[in-house]
């Protein structure tokens, strides 16, 4: 679809020709994000260089009733940045300046197109770092992190993006600019910033953000333990948590992902059914004390081998295989689908057993690599699209895993977001009323639903007429039965 020529002319006048993409071949670059299965070519792509230019584009869209979708690096895995066919993509890639480094306050102010890793790189020489570390941190942007409330392996101890953002400049869907928070952590009034972070680009466009940076820990130690099974490794995780140890990260990989990682990047993992990587950071003596305890827990829990990284080189090697796990799956399977679900940590082994049953039931293999410390599973459903019906079967298996997560009181997504991918699954976790109340919030920001429409919320158009089955919200299960 194309926009009315006068609209395109107005946008061009605001941004200059270099700030607008309208050639069909070039528009195709923006047709999807990391969820490559959903592709929609936008009507126009804009590349603003400043808040004022973002504001200009949003105002034009608002006046003409044109949908718009903000986009960072396009690494999102839930289709949160999938364009609208009749709409405008607002790429923030050119807003990539680090505006201010305020070491004394422990704050860095950046534009949305700055990559996650660039924040740490900008302050590392001074002994600081930015804690949230999504796997895509080399390319993903802070703007996208704010939209998705991104986590990462180390959010177990240090929290998600929402814990590390102290201030936001936001262009609202009507083009107004508001400033939320600041450099202080305690603010008066309702926490609009708290709910904006993680709203998947549906409440406005953040154009500047102030982030909290942390002092680099004086000690980081990493332990790798080999177990016969993922259940054993999962049980060790529960033991570590019960022992009151706050690990920086706890990750599990199963045999299938170990094989793939070994073939791809040769991390030299032990030959076993599952490995657990535990990383501890902080005061050197505390880390030493905790490390000894973690090793003991792993041994008592049936670990066949335990290794402690002797130096940063070995530590990097422990992580290399973990970080390459998704990509390495290409070595053992033609195609794979990454699921993202969360379970209470005490239910890890129960759900892993269920995934094993589902593998047999569907006749497909599932690789399990996950943030065990916070119960965030990333099952990789392996399939081969050249085989008839297999993609569909893989999709169904992935859905069944999500249902297994919900059955034990978990969540539809720990970090990838709902986007377009899981919008139709929202009724598994939330009632119609819950969703209607969330929509009320959206109304306050965007009554015309122009800002990233078609995301998060199930619509008949997106999901067909039949909504999925509603399951009791975990909070209801925990309490007295009631629902209006």
């Amino acid at each position: 679809m194309s926009l009315a020529p006068e609209v395109v002319a107005r946008v061009e006048a605001a941004l200059g020709r270099g700030g607008v993409i309208s050639e069909p071949e070039q528009l195709r670059t923006y047709e999807c994000d990391g969820l490559t299965g959903r592709r929609v070519v936008p009507a126009l792509v804009t590349l603003p260089r400043s808040t004022a230019e973002v504001q200009a584009v949003v105002r034009i869209c608002h006046e003409h009733g044109i949908p718009f979708v903000a986009r960072g690096a396009g690494t999102g895995l839930s289709g949160g940045a999938v364009p609208h066919a009749d709409g405008v993509v607002i790429s923030l890639a050119r807003m990539n300046r680090i505006v201010e480094i305020d070491l004394e306050s422990g704050r860095v102010t950046v534009e949305p197109g700055v990559t996650n890793l660039a924040v740490t790189q900008a302050v590392a020489a001074h002994g600081f770092y930015y804690a949230p570390d999504p796997s895509s941190q080399q390319v993903c942007t802070i703007g996208g992190n704010v939209a998705e409330n991104s986590g990462g392996a180390h959010c177990l101890k240090h929290g998600f993006t929402v814990t590390h953002v102290t201030g936001l400049e936001v262009v609202l869907p009507d083009g107004e600019v508001v400033y939320l928070g600041g450099k202080g952590l305690d603010n008066d009034g309702i926490d609009v910033m708290g709910v904006f972070i993680g709203s998947e680009g549906t409440l406005g466009i953040a154009t500047r953000m102030t982030l909290r940076i942390l002092r680099l820990p004086e000690s980081v130690r990493t332990l790798l333990a080999g177990f016969d099974s993922t259940s054993q490794a999962g049980a060790a995780v529960s033991e570590v948590i019960s022992a009151g140890i706050l690990a920086g990260a706890m990750e599990i990989m199963d045999r299938l992902t170990l094989e793939a990682a070994e073939a791809a990047v040769h991390p030299g993992y032990p030959d076993c059914g599952a490995i657990l990587i535990v990383e501890l950071d902080g005061n050197a003596i505390q880390v030493e004390d905790d490390l000894a305890r973690v090793e003991e827990i792993c041994r008592d829990g049936g670990a066949t081998t335990t290794r402690i990284a002797a130096d940063d080189v070995e530590r990097a090697l422990f992580w290399k295989g973990r970080k390459a796990a998704f990509a390495a799956m290409g070595r053992v399977s033609h195609d794979y689908y990454v699921q993202d679900g969360v379970v209470p940590r005490t239910k890890l082994h129960e759900v892993l057993d269920r995934i094993g049953e589902l593998e047999r039931e569907y006749g497909l293999r599932v690789g399990n690599v996950f943030h065990a410390g916070d119960g965030n599973l990333h099952p990789l459903v392996l399939y081969d699209r050249r085989n008839d019906g297999e993609p569909q079967k893989a999709k169904e298996l992935a859905e069944a895993i999500l249902e297994a997560c919900m059955d034990v009181g978990g969540s539809l997504t720990g970090e990838h977001g709902i986007g377009t991918d899981k919008a139709c699954r929202m009724p598994l976790m939330f009632s119609e009323t819950d969703l209607a109340v969330m929509q009320r919030l959206r109304q306050a920001f965007d009554p015309e639903s122009l800002c990233n429409p078609g995301k998060i919320f199930p619509t008949p158009r997106l999901c067909g007429e039949v909504p999925g089955p509603y399951r009791v919200h975990p909070l209801e299960l925990a309490g007295l039965a009631d629902r209006f």
Partner: protein
Amino acid sequence: MPTVSEPASVDEAAAVLAEASARGASVSIGREDGDVVLSTRSLGRMLEHEAGDLTATVEAGIRLSKLNARLAQAGQMLALDPPGDPTVGACVAANLTGPRRHRYGGPRDLVLGATVVLADGTVASAGGKVVKNVAGYDLGKLFCGSHGRLGLLVRLSLRLHPLPAATRTLVATADDLDEVYRLTQLLHFSSLVPSAADVLWEGQGSRLPIMFEGSQRAVADQVDRARELLGGEEGDARVWEESRARQGAARARLSFPPRGLVQTLAGVGEAVIRPAAGSAYVPDPVPEQAEAGALLLAERIRKTFDPQAVLV
């Protein structure tokens, strides 16, 4: 005379609000200025505590002291330590924190999920009870600092922390704001990991209590190193009681960039300062700090949740 209502279930709370809004009565939560004064006094139960998950689900009316006494049996805590003994719902609604927000964050960082009753009696849940979850709008966070104007918080799922094996406090001293700032910056640029670091500002002889938590050995190490860096003497829990009491007696909170501590506090004779958070609790009221656009947006949100302005 206002009617006092103390619902004992979510159903009852919803019925009270639905009825009040239907007849055009005003309702206040935690304050006494509505036609109906709604209290969560009878909504104070612990509903679930999964020790292995470090999570708990509670009714919003449970007092911090009661909750933490229960959690302590499993060696855990909700790491909120505001002055007094508020309910967990009040901590969220008023965005209350204490000295240990330095390490553990505030209600926003500890609330995993919430069930709320809106002014018209609608009951809705958001978030979840797992520690990691990004499904849907996180309304629990929106309700942080809502002061009862968006709806009634009835149930909360919370992130817990293990109780530390050891806790020790060092108290440094400073005679003027420049010295306060110098010491807090030394701490900020060190690799020490305190759980709390306050300034009890009162001019000459001001104290800077710093709390360390962890294993016996690690805490001893940190106290020794902090003493070398900042001077001072070892203190005990009383200094934190004093800090919380003075915070509780304060009538306003200033929010400032941590770098602006000296300028912000210049001319202020007395305050409890949390330097890393950029917060100072001061005896005298201060003007509203939020930006006008943000206030308008907050008001728009309030109106969509409570269009009839039932909640006052």
